[in-house]
């Protein structure tokens, strides 16, 4: 138990390091962009009028201070970390003066919901079906699932999103294709609102699940068809151990270890897929917000979103890594 506590400690240290390096990269990459948010803001403000050059200069100074952009890159860096430590990413430059954190908190639940539901469904369904298909190699329905999965799995997320959108929004228009809920519906704990949210989530979730399930299915099927040749499975079959017990405790249980690790490794990719899906379906999550921030040269918002997603993905990977030793007795936590 002490060994496990030590492992938790070390793995958490690693988490902090990953987050630190990731946010640093986000900071320097965004500051290397050629878009100057101050010029952009002044251009927007003075688009329809003549402005006094001195006033423009004063505005420029004021904005620079407000945005935390005074001084050289090093000074900005120090100011930036002092703010991040207080979970303050400053005001959004494009939606001034709304704080970045407010924008992120507004968008985060949508992305979190979309991602967690889609990942849970595709991971669970893909592994269950893949496990069955690997164990019952001659089952015809499962073979068909395999054919479909192999066809779906290589389709990129954005293509799948458009296919689903065209199919259910245009060819057979039964589902809403954009937004997170009906616009004129007040937000609240009402049944109508939840129904609307559910309906609007169906297509984005479906497009993520179709691609994700295919990938997990193929991985799991390959794993299981290896595991069924292991001595302990052959021996259990020889011993007349119950077939469901063999499938679940002998075959799937051993394959699960690899698939959980795979989930931890692919969290980043899953997040990328979600960004694109959100843009396609106009879903008000972090991905959509991020793309808008990039176009507007909104430094602070980009850094804020990047940092949030780095923390979220790294944290999810941390949780999985902490669970893994509990699943596999052979993993030595020392």
């Amino acid at each position: 138990m002490a060994a496990y506590a030590l492992y938790v400690l070390r793995r958490s240290g690693q988490f902090v390091l990953v987050v630190f390096v990731g946010i640093n990269i986000a900071f320097f990459v965004t500051h290397a962009t050629p878009i100057d948010p101050i010029t952009a803001a002044i251009a927007a403000a003075t688009r329809f009028s003549q402005a006094d050059p001195q006033a423009v200069q004063l505005t420029r100074e004021a904005l620079r201070e407000l945005y935390g952009l005074q001084g050289n890159l090093w000074q900005q860096y120090v100011v930036f970390w002092m703010r991040v430590a207080r979970a303050d990413f400053g005001p959004s430059l494009s939606a001034f003066p709304t704080p970045v954190s407010t924008l992120i908190w507004r968008a985060l639940p949508w992305t979190f919901g979309l991602l967690s539901v889609a990942t849970l469904i595709s991971w669970g369904l893909g592994n269950l079906l893949g496990g069955l298909a690997g164990y019952y190699r001659r089952n015809v329905p499962l073979k068909l699932v395999g054919v479909v999965a192999s066809g779906l799995q290589p389709i990129p997320n954005y293509v799948m999103a458009f296919i689903v959108l065209v199919l259910f929004g245009y060819v057979w228009p039964i589902l809403p294709i954009t937004g997170s809920s009906q616009i004129n519906l007040p937000q609240g704990w009402t049944l109508a609102y939840f129904q609307s949210v559910f309906q609007h989530a169906l297509l984005p979730v479906l497009s993520l699940v179709l691609v994700g399930t295919g990938a997990w299915f193929i991985g799991m099927r390959a794993l299981v068809s290896n595991i069924v040749t292991e001595d302990y499975v052959a021996y259990a079959e020889l011993g007349g151990v119950d077939r469901w017990r063999i499938l679940i405790s002998y075959v799937m249980r051993n394959a699960l270890l690899t698939q959980v690790t795979g989930l931890a490794l692919s969290l980043g990719l899953i997040f990328n897929g979600a960004v694109i899906t959100e843009v396609v379906f106009g879903y008000p999550g972090l991905g959509n917000l991020l793309i808008r921030a990039v176009y507007a040269g909104d430094y602070s918002l980009v850094i804020g979103i990047a940092s949030t997603s780095i923390i979220a993905v790294a944290f999810a990977a941390l949780v999985i890594d902490l669970v893994l030793p509990l699943l596999d007795p052979r993993v030595r936590v020392a």
């Binding site: 190699r137 001659r138 292991e230 001595d231 302990y232 052959a234 021996y235 259990a236 079959e237 020889l238 011993g239 007349g240 151990v241 119950d242 017990r245 405790s249 002998y250 249980r253 051993n254 270890l257 699943l327 596999d328 007795p329 052979r330």
Partner: protein, 368 residues
């Protein structure tokens, strides 16, 4: 009718008289690996026309070099046949069954496994599920057979482990926490917990060093005697056979070439192959070099004509090339298949089978 000898309890002891009632009768068993790759059909005759009887309460040793079909024979008598291996012909009769092993439906088969027929497989190191504790393996394999509630079940398991000199603490261990010898002992305990009438053991000691091997052999012997079960024991290691087997069968290229009580095999081998196996054993104080047998084991997909040993046999005659010798009884309990051993040995009427015969009754024991 085979059951008539079951109450013959007088055969208890390490060396039962040869007239003990049969526990397993195998007749003209053939099991081939049938493969069909890239349009080429191949059949590998791993078990080709084997007949033998294992008696109650005896350990029958089966010896032979690698790839002679020993393991395939065990799989076949354990109904652990899965493609590409398939049983082509012959019968496998256990005394505790009222019909041929291959006439059982999967449910019946599953019901006798471990209860009446258990199997210690080759590579017992890896037969325990790495993510399940030993305790759970005992539940998986034995619980349904014992007909006991949890508490008395584990009491019985503990008692059994104690009999086999294993600490009860192994139940809470994961397989990777046990040494190779311990894993082997746990596997043996697992295979004997239900007190099966018949135990099949495939090289259970091959991966162990000689000290541990000695202990494990003693344990197998002890377990077998406590239960009074019969055992079919396979290894290529003649010294192990000398220590454990009551009777010994020598296999060569898918066929049984000689059978006799263990002491007779070592004292007076009849078949030239057996003679060579026995002569290869080192003796203390011996100075001479051991001659190795020339040539290699035959390809079982295309075995030599006649006696399969003739290309490597120092005594080969003309007749050996032409017709396969029948396994002939020379004296009670003593069978040999070699023309040079005795003039009584005649060509076998059943040995030659037309290659690629169309009649293939594929029988698969494990449903997949």
């Amino acid at each position: 009718m085979r059951q008539s000898g079951r109450d013959n309890g007088s055969t208890v002891g390490p060396h039962p008289p040869p007239e003990g009632a049969p526990a397993l009768s195998v007749d003209n068993l053939r099991a081939y690996y049938l493969t069909h790759y890239f349009g080429v059909e191949r059949e590998v005759r791993a078990v080709d026309d084997i007949s033998l009887v294992v008696r109650r309460n005896e350990i029958y040793g089966l010896a032979g070099e690698s790839s002679c079909g020993k393991t395939t024979f065990l799989k076949t008598v354990a109904a652990a046949v899965r493609p590409p291996l398939s049983v082509i012909g012959g019968s496998v009769q256990y005394a505790f069954l009222d019909r041929d092993l291959y006439a059982l439906n999967p449910a019946k088969l599953s019901a006798i496994r471990w209860r009446r027929l258990s199997y210690i497989t080759q590579g017992s190191m890896n037969v325990l599920n790495p993510v399940r504790r030993v305790r759970e393996s005992f539940i998986d394999f034995a619980y349904r057979h014992m007909g006991l509630k949890r508490r008395p079940f584990f009491a019985a398991v503990n008692e059994h482990l104690q009999r086999l000199h294993l600490a009860a603490s192994v139940l809470d261990a994961y397989p990777h926490e046990l040494s190779g010898g311990m894993k082997q002992r746990v596997t043996i305990a697992l295979a004997t917990i239900c007190r099966p009438e018949f135990i099949i053991a495939d090289e259970p000691t091959t991966a162990l060093d000689v000290i541990v091997q000695k202990d494990v052999l003693a344990m197998i012997r002890e377990a077998q005697q406590q239960i009074g079960s019969s055992m079919l024991f396979v290894t290529h290691d003649m010294t192990v056979h000398a220590n454990i087997a009551d009777r010994l069968g020598i296999m060569y290229a898918g066929r049984l070439v000689e059978e006799a009580p263990t002491a007779d095999i070592f004292a007076n081998p009849k078949h030239p192959y057996t003679a060579h196996l026995v002569a290869s054993l080192p003796r203390i104080g011996e100075q001479s070099r051991k001659e190795s047998l020339s040539g290699a084991p035959p390809n079982l997909a295309n075995p030599p004509s006649g006696c399969r040993f003739h290309p490597r046999c120092p005594l080969a005659m003309e007749v050996c090339r032409e017709a396969s010798p029948a396994l002939t009884t020379l004296a009670p309990g003593r069978r040999v298949a070699c023309y040079a051993a005795s003039p009584l040995v005649k060509p076998s009427p059943t040995a030659e089978r037309v290659a690629g015969a169309t009649h293939r009754a594929e029988r698969v024991g494990l449903v997949q």
